[in-house]
């Protein structure tokens, strides 16, 4: 029913898998079976899954195959496997948020994003590791171990959507859902060398996703290629009247726009993020310069631009995030502080020490910072900047984790709500992914993806996979 060998199926992109399944060249059962075998082999080292649901996935694959054989395709992701971060509800499965606190919390319905993926034909493979409640860091004092980086399992995979990043990069599934409140889709995308998009605030429904911070939370697609990311976003985007943050705006055919000409696009390079605000490792800086030169060679106009400082963006993000998170976790932190990991306990208790005035000042300053970014985005079509200032450090060195985790430029776009995508910019001398970030105007994911695709096409980063696997 297909070309190629079983050994290659795990590197199939979602787009190629969907195309082959629709053409009856690939059986969804065979694809899912191959991934189940790969998960059985690799996940004991990677810990990407909290709960692997192989039997349900196989059942769904058989159903998908039966539908294909009678000419019925549910949608553009028919038969394509997907992993779901374990703060997102999947009907009948526990949503634990990787925490003792939610032990026994069985979801009664799919989150809207999962419902949409299933409606497009995707097959849920299971629930994925996260930092506890999507905050904190890799923790060894929780019921499940932290996910690890497939490029080097002694290194962390980023977070908080850590299992999503690890599993996509390792070929356990071609696409995954993550969430992003301070960079949690883009951090694992950066550490694991995949493509992670935080869409515009309000583009993707958050209903059925355990909240961290109501005004900063986003759900986003994580894939190995830009094309797959666009395809997944097409399925996820759209207004949800029952999500108070959801925007009633037209949304695009992102995949069709990917190959549009990029000549003449104006790119604002936010150099001060990684040269002044948080000086990056030399390899990171060199890779960013290489991306800028490549975009110029593709015909884009690259100019330096200035945004507010990373220090203030981070502070605004922290005050708002931790204040809103405190409102969610207050009762549990009062009654069950020992049931949290130390890292998340420290982050979540911080919200207890802000005043109403602190929160309101941050929210007011947030609007001013949005205006400053909007002013720059009237002069350029897309922003180019760093994502992480360092490659992923070792997972077993708390001091290194504490030092490198805040060294990032992702929170600005949670504060402002603009769409932002992180992907590989190259590899370090140690063979770990380096990263770049593109951000754009509100609801203009099409241009962000178009520029990301131009970089991917010119650099070939989509062909790089973890060698140890």
């Amino acid at each position: 029913m297909r070309d190629g060998t079983l050994a290659e199926l795990h590197w199939l992109t979602a787009s190629d898998a969907a195309r082959a399944i629709a053409a009856k060249e690939l059986s969804p059962v065979e694809l899912v079976q191959a991934l189940i075998e790969r998960i059985a082999k690799l996940d004991p080292k990677l810990n990407a899954f909290i709960r692997h649901d192989g039997s349900s996935a196989l059942q769904a694959a058989r159903q998908a195959e039966a539908e294909v054989m009678v000419g019925r395709l549910r949608g553009p992701l028919h038969g394509v496997p997907v992993g779901i971060k374990d703060i997102i509800d999947v009907a009948g499965l526990p949503t634990t948020c990787h925490s003792k606190i939610l032990d026994g919390n069985i979801a009664t319905a799919d989150a809207v994003c999962v419902h949409k993926l299933r409606g497009a034909g995707a097959i849920v493979m299971g629930k994925l590791s996260t930092h506890e409640f999507a905050i904190g860091g890799p923790s060894f004092d929780l019921p499940w171990p932290p996910a690890r980086n497939p490029w080097n399992i002694n290194h962390h995979p980023g977070g908080s959507s850590s299992g999503s990043g690890s599993g996509v990069a390792a070929g356990l599934f071609p696409m995954a859902l993550g969430s992003d409140t301070g960079g949690s889709v883009r951090n694992p995308a950066s550490c694991c060398g995949i493509v992670g998009l935080k869409p515009t605030y309000g583009l993707v429904s958050r209903r059925g996703v355990f909240p961290l911070s109501f005004t900063l939370d986003h759900v986003g697609p994580m894939t190995r290629t830009v094309t797959d990311n666009a395809l997944m976003l097409e399925t996820l985007a759209g207004h949800d009247p029952l999500d108070p943050g959801s925007a009633a705006v037209p949304y695009g055919h992102y995949a069709a726009a990917l190959e549009r000409p990029v000549r003449g696009l104006r790119v604002g390079f936010v150099r001060h993020f990684h040269e002044v605000d948080l000086p990056a490792e030399p390899e990171v800086t060199a890779a960013l310069d290489h991306v800028a030169r490549t975009l110029q060679l593709e015909g884009m106009e690259v100019r330096d631009v200035t945004l507010p400082s990373l220090d203030e963006f981070r502070a605004i993000n922290r005050v708002i995030l931790q204040s809103e998170a405190w409102a969610i976790h207050e009762k549990w932190l009062q009654q069950r502080p020992g049931d949290y990991a130390q890292l998340s306990r420290r982050q979540l208790m911080t919200g207890a020490f802000f005043t109403a005035g602190d929160y309101t000042h941050a929210a007011r300053r947030r609007l001013e910072m949005i205006a400053e970014v909007e002013a720059v985005l009237r002069e350029v079509d897309v922003l180019l900047c760093a994502s992480s200032m360092d490659p992923a450090c070792r997972i077993d060195r708390p001091a290194d984790l504490e030092r490198t985790y805040p060294r990032q430029a992702r929170t600005p776009f949670n504060v402002t709500g603009h769409p932002a995508l992180a992907m590989m910019s190259g590899l370090s001398a140690d063979g770990l992914p380096l990263s770049v970030q593109f951000a754009g105007r509100y609801f203009d994911e099409a241009t962000v993806l178009q520029v990301a695709r131009a970089w991917e096409r010119a650099s070939g980063v989509d062909g790089k996979h973890p060698p140890i696997l």
Binding site: T215, P241, P244, G245, D311, E312, R314, A315, I316, R318, V319, Q322, E330, L333, Q334, Q335, P337, G338, Q342, R345, R346, Q347, M349, T350, G351, A352, F353, F354, D358, T360, H361, A362, A363, R364, R365, R366, L367, E368, I370
Partner: protein, 60 residues
């Protein structure tokens, strides 16, 4: 923020149990809050509005 202030604020927030079991974590949390607030510029314009804006309509 001194130790007495941290303890007073923690108790006021209902964190007596955390204060007893994880005093260092409570202190770290308090210092993190203090550090973040110090980096947020205050708006000079008294009419400056927050984001997200208040909206009448479908959300109510």
């Amino acid at each position: 923020m001194d130790k007495a202030t941290i303890e007073m604020l923690a108790r006021r927030a209902g964190l007596a149990k955390a204060l007893a079991e994880f005093p260092e974590d409570v202190a770290v949390a308090a210092r993190q809050a203090e550090s973040a607030v110090a980096k947020v510029k205050k708006c000079d314009d008294p009419r400056a509005e927050p984001w997200p804006p208040m909206r009448a309509g479908s959300g109510l």
